[in-house]
């Protein structure tokens, strides 16, 4: 049992999955000899050999496409897209093939693949290295979208994603890779892919977030607690399929909800959650649903990044608005 950074717990989960299932392969650009540009796959090549850890040519569409072929043949490819800004060329394979191979063939061929990709902003990276396209991916039927928010979650969710018989996109917030450590036992225990996590209980307002923004939500909850407001914080780590029930139940209790994400506001995944609240959750709502998000603009280059990304202050402010409503 050890305190691990998220990048280490991901490495641990990959090793564990490869150890327990010979069908699991790791592939992508620079994942082998280099161990991944963030070191998430460090040591795997040495341990599992070049037949199971493959440095690919520079070709994202083909990385996704050949993973479909591998998966249909019974392998469990875990492909890395080096940054989520380069995931767009894989969408054709995700939307037209990976996510529908099972239904197209009535279950004859299936696609148990995982596409991992470092995502999101906050590390002052170069252009195109700070994207949050989770909602685009979450619209694809037949695809799971998972975003961990801590070392422990990353470990358990990645194991679950690899073991899952269907395709999963696994977005890893780069700014969490080395942000903090967490006790992460290598016990092989997967976390569920269909449940939200209640991170903190509270009865006054529900804060909903995922990935890196969860820490901001928790930070906001701390701020609010100092003012006597008890926030319930929910981690929607498995965006799709969405566990609506946990969110609705929480808001049934609190009557107030703030949803936070880095991605742009419009058609971001926060919209889906707010929409569920406007539907089945309406009677619970005592105040407008607040969304604290990136703007509908391109993520600016690093000098202005901090002015773009929402943080705990905005979440807390939104929560206060819901509290003081009417």
């Amino acid at each position: 049992m050890a305190e691990l950074k998220m990048v280490q717990s991901i490495n641990l989960a990959l090793a564990r999955a490869m150890e327990e299932d010979a069908r699991v392969l790791v592939l992508g650009e620079d994942v082998g000899v280099d161990g991944g540009v963030f070191r998430a796959t460090e040591g795997l090549l040495g341990r599992f050999g070049a037949d199971r850890v493959l440095d690919t040519p520079l070709a994202e569409a083909a990385i996704a496409g050949l993973s479909v072929g591998l998966a249909a043949q019974g392998f469990r490819p875990v492909a890395e897209i080096q940054f989520t800004g380069f995931i767009y060329p894989t969408i054709d394979q995700l939307a037209n093939h990976a996510s529908r191979l099972r239904t197209r063939t009535r279950g004859r061929l299936t696609c148990p693949m995982v596409l991992r990709s470092p995502a999101g902003g906050g590390i002052r990276a170069v252009e195109h290295h700070s994207e949050s396209p989770e909602a685009m991916l979450a619209q694809i039927p037949g695809l799971r979208v998972v975003i961990p928010s801590s070392p422990l979650k990353a470990y358990g969710l990645l194991l679950a994603a690899i073991r899952d018989p269907d395709p999963v996109v696994f977005l890893e917030p780069t700014r969490l890779y080395r942000a903090f450590m967490e006790e992460t036992p290598d016990d092989g225990a997967a976390l569920p892919l269909d449940s939200c996590f209640i991170q903190r209980e509270g009865s006054h307002v529900t804060l909903v977030a995922w990935g890196a923004m969860l820490r901001d939500a928790l930070g906001a909850a701390d701020l609010l607690a100092q003012e006597g407001t008890e926030a319930e914080v929910i981690d929607v780590a498995t965006l799709k399929p969405l566990d609506e029930a946990t969110i609705l139940e929480s808001v049934a209790k609190t009557g107030r909800c703030v949803i936070a994400h880095e991605a742009p506001l419009t058609a971001g995944f926060g919209a889906e959650i707010a929409a569920r609240l406007a539907g089945r959750g309406l009677t619970s709502l005592l105040a407008p649903v607040e969304r604290v998000t990136g703007y509908d603009t391109v993520m600016p280059l690093p000098r202005l990044e901090a002015a773009y990304l929402p943080g705990q202050d905005e979440i807390a402010a939104a929560a206060r608005r819901t509290m003081s409503y009417k």
Binding site: A62, L66, R104
Partner: protein, 363 residues
């Protein structure tokens, strides 16, 4: 330091039915060609029936393979059962050879997913509509074969238009550098809907797309089922035994409209097409077999009768298959249906919708 490349061309059976060099080993006994001929006829009869069903509103938009039967049959017949076929959408002849049934093919083109649940070649890929997007799948299948150290290979068929897609270049390149057991066969039927191959690329051959990937590449007469079979068999065997990937451009011609939704007269004249009827793949084999004393008028009649009967029976069977339950829209989305979808399925089952089989004419 000049580096040189060349693209060769092979043909065995000329359009007049004469042998160009001599028969290749697999056809030392010329009788082995008979099943190839039969399979091409079967594909053609199937195509005709499918178009007829479409005309009367009982099949969806359909892509006939008229004139390209030698590519499909030549390639598929070179495969071993354990190899994996990844067809585009115009390889009925290959799929039929592999054991996909005419009923399954009609079901698919009639708008029913069960048509891709082949009872025969369980590992073969279904038809692929997004052009070229199946080519990387073939690379993945080949990698699977290689990693398991199996003596198997993937066979991927794509069109001339498909060669312009980045997917193909990416896939060829990876197959080349990883020396994967995969054979890419280009059905160069010289058209991508309305775009002739001369406006698709400035490349003198399509085979040379393989040069970019460093893989052995050649052209064959795609109307010569013997040449296709020979080239593909050689490439597959090399693939299965660790020799890596290859690319074969089979030059043929699309004698029909692109699909039943297309009207080729908008972009090409009959005069462009008619010379190609002289080169189509069936006549030359029939001529050859007849001259070799292996095929008679009676054999021909018998074959047509039998094949027609088979395909007619398949059409009848297809038309009698009731539409799937609405629940099936949901049931194969994930292995286990998530809560969200359980609710949605409930809703769908409660809806009253117009009955929907068999499908009507499409745009």
């Amino acid at each position: 330091m000049t580096v040189r490349f060349e693209i060769g061309f092979t043909r065995y059976l000329a359009p007049n039915g004469k042998l160009v060099p001599g028969l290749p080993p697999f056809a030392a006994d010329a009788k082995t060609i008979i099943p190839l001929y039969e399979a091409m006829v079967r594909a053609r009869v199937f195509d005709a029936k499918a178009v007829a069903l479409w005309r009367t509103g009982r099949l969806g938009t359909f892509a006939s393979s008229l004139g390209q039967e030698a590519v499909a049959v030549g390639a598929a017949s070179a495969m071993q059962e354990t190899d994996v076929l990844l067809p585009s959408f115009r390889e009925h002849g290959a799929q039929l050879w592999r054991g996909v049934t005419p009923v399954e093919l009609l079901l698919y083109w009639g708008g029913d997913e069960r048509g891709s649940d082949f009872k025969g070649p369980r590992q073969d890929f279904p038809v692929c509509v997004p052009v070229a997007s199946h080519v990387p799948h073939a690379v993945g299948v080949a990698l699977a074969c290689k990693l398991r150290r199996e003596r198997r290979a993937a066979l991927c068929i794509l069109g001339d238009g498909a060669t312009s897609k980045g997917d193909v270049a990416e896939a060829l390149n990876i197959a080349g550098v990883w020396r994967l057991p995969v054979v890419f066969v280009i059905n160069n039927n010289q058209w991508a809907i309305s775009v002739p191959v001369s406006r698709q690329t400035a490349a003198e051959t399509l085979a040379q797309k393989g040069i970019a990937a460093g893989i052995p590449s050649l052209q064959v007469d795609g109307n010569d089922v013997v040449a296709v079979r020979m080239a593909v068999a050689g490439a597959l065997e090399r693939a299965r035994t660790g020799g890596g990937a290859s690319l074969i451009e089979a030059i043929t011609y699309r004698l029909a409209d692109h699909t039943t939704a297309d009207d080729a007269s908008r972009y090409r004249d009959d005069a462009d097409v008619s010379p190609h009827w002289l080169e189509e793949p069936l006549i030359r084999v029939r001529t050859f077999l007849t001259e070799a004393g292996l095929w008679s008028k009676k054999d021909e009649e018998h074959l047509l009768q039998e094949t027609t009967a088979e395909i007619e029976a398949a059409a009848t069977a297809y038309l009698g298959i009731p539409t799937q339950n609405v629940s099936t829209i949901f049931d194969y989305t994930f292995e286990k249906l998530p809560e969200d979808l359980v609710t949605q399925r409930q809703h769908a089952l409660g809806r009253r919708v117009q009955s929907a089989a068999p499908p009507a004419v499409q745009s």
